[in-house]
């Protein structure tokens, strides 16, 4: 066991690739834990998943347009940001306007995003695009600038949630009452969706769509089973995400296992284990 940790620490000290992967895993925990806790308590995990999948449409469109119309500035990340914001607007409007049909409509947007992404990437001229890197990501390809961007996002999320914590909690718990006390529930709902979209967009680069969704929901869902207030859920979720990322990276390094899927495996395992313990009374 001691050799295991010594080996991993040596790798962190000597190999920049591992070091950046570890740093991005820890730094991204801040965003995953805080935004994920809000997503889980507001019970909009499926909305977050729909936003994540619609981002693939933006990535595909950006790759296609940049190659066909020779627009080198149109990067996949820019396409993902635009698609994320568009999907927030559409999904937010649908969930507020068509409550009785929202699951069907969100399912359609989810599928449309993926289908559009795959079609754009299929017809994009030039070298074939590796879809797997978008879907599963590769934390080992994280660069220094990725770590910095993730840290900036984490701080932004932390500040925004800190400033509007009580209003976000009120809108999540009882939207109608919050509205009666002068809180614009729609504005805070869109703020939450926007934070979710930006988190997923940035974290897809290092974690991929599947891992980003898993880390957004599972640690927060695990933490919420044992916590009595939302800020404690957030702290626990941040810690749990950091542990899953670090342990997943260490084990995958030592035993040559794909990192992203193994981190998802750990997050699911923690959530499953949480059912062995007593949860708060319903």
């Amino acid at each position: 066991m001691t050799d295991f940790f010594a080996d991993f620490l040596d790798a962190v000290a000597e190999v920049p690739l591992i070091r950046y992967a570890l740093l991005s895993g820890i730094v991204s925990s801040l965003t995953f834990g805080v935004v994920g806790s809000l997503v889980v308590t507001r019970q909009i995990a499926y909305v977050a998943s729909a936003i994540a999948h619609s981002i693939l449409g933006g990535i595909g469109a950006a790759v296609y347009c940049s190659r066909v119309y020779d627009l080198p500035w149109l990067t996949p990340m820019l396409g993902a940001i635009v698609a994320g914001l568009v999907s927030v607007a559409v999904i937010g409007w649908v969930t507020l306007r068509f409550k009785e049909r929202e699951d069907t409509i969100i399912g359609a947007i989810w599928a449309l995003g993926m289908a559009a992404g795959l079609l754009f990437l299929h017809y994009a001229p030039g070298k074939a695009v590796n879809m797997e890197s978008f879907i599963f990501g590769n934390i080992l390809l994280t660069s220094r600038s990725d770590v910095v961007a993730t840290l900036v996002l984490g701080v932004l999320v932390f500040v925004l949630v800190g400033l509007f914590y009580h209003k976000l909690v009120a809108v999540s718990f009882d939207e109608e009452f919050a509205r009666l006390r002068g809180v614009s529930s729609k504005a805070y709902y869109f703020l939450l969706l926007g934070l979710t979209a930006m988190s997923v967009v940035l974290l897809v680069r290092i974690a991929g769509l599947i891992l980003a969704q898993a880390l957004l929901v599972l640690p927060a869902a695990t933490a919420s089973r044992f916590s009595r207030s939302l800020w404690v859920v957030m702290v626990l979720a941040v810690a749990l995400t950091a542990v899953c990322n670090t342990a997943g990276l260490a084990v995958s390094y030592e035993y040559d296992i794909p990192t992203g899927p193994f981190i998802v495996f750990l997050a699911v395992g923690c959530y499953a284990l949480s059912f062995l313990f007593r949860r708060n009374r319903a």
Binding site: T41, F173, G182, S224, R228
Partner: protein, 249 residues
């Protein structure tokens, strides 16, 4: 509160039709009637959450939307996610949201919230999570949240629904104290609560009809069998000179 000729429909379905009534300051009015009769819709109209198709509503002399800060609203506690990670104090603090711009609640807001909890006999429960409270305790926390608004009007939506009899007695005791210092409007099916708290009763079944207390057994039967609405329609048509309608009724 003053409603004049208010009508409201959800699409083609008419929920309230030509509703007129007044609630003077200090009155305790119980709103009763069959399910689907429009009780909750009337509460939403008074809160300004929806707008009437026709007619005019004034609450505390203002438009309902502008008068919201003067109303303490108590929804049914059972409609909330019981696993939501939140303490009783944090729920009560929501009553002070209009005093918060960003950041944390002030010391004064926290003191007011604690006082509201104390008023409903829940001072020892401030840090208790919502998930650990019983149905009756949750309902009392909701009343405390409404009191933290410093309301002139307390509007309750079926406060005794889904709670057992011993808890109901405690809640009735709390509400009986509160009605002495504020206007109370309560949507309920609970006739024990009506007789303990109400000064008068408003039967809502698409139209409204006021009753004085105590309600007779015959009146209760009429209200819940829907006959009251037919009688009201017949009376209206009779007043308008449509005597043929009476024969059909």
């Amino acid at each position: 509160m003053d409603c004049r000729g208010v009508s409201f429909s959800y699409g083609r379905s008419v929920v309230l039709e030509d509703v007129t009534f007044t609630v003077p300051r200090g009155e305790s009015l119980c709103v009763i009637g069959p399910n689907g009769g429009g009780k909750s819709t009337l509460a939403k109209l008074l809160l300004g959450l929806i707008e009437p198709d026709r007619g005019r509503i004034a609450v505390l002399g203002r438009e309902p939307r502008e008068a919201r800060t003067g109303i303490g609203y108590v929804p049914q506690a059972m409609r909330f996610d019981p696993q939501f990670p939140i303490s009783a104090l944090d729920i009560v603090l929501m009553g002070r949201l209009n005093h918060l711009t960003v950041g944390l609640f002030s010391k004064r807001c926290r003191e007011r919230a604690r006082a509201a909890l104390d008023e409903v006999g829940m001072s020892g429960y401030a840090r208790r999570p919502f998930s650990d409270l019983s149905g009756g305790e949750r309902q009392r926390v909701m009343v405390a949240r409404a009191l933290a608004c410093d309301p002139e009007i307390l509007l309750l939506d079926e406060p005794t629904a889904n709670i057992d009899l011993s808890i109901e007695a405690q809640l009735i005791e709390t509400l009986a104290k509160l009605r002495e210092r504020m206007t109370v409007l309560m949507v309920t099916h609970d006739l024990d609560l009506v007789s303990a708290i109400g000064n008068s009763v408003l039967c809502v079944n698409h139209r409204v009809h006021r009753h004085s207390l105590p309600l007779s057994g015959e009146t209760i039967k009429e209200i819940y069998s829907g006959r009251r609405r037919l009688e009201h329609d017949r009376r209206t048509r009779h007043q308008q000179g449509d005597h043929s309608a009476c024969a059909h009724d």
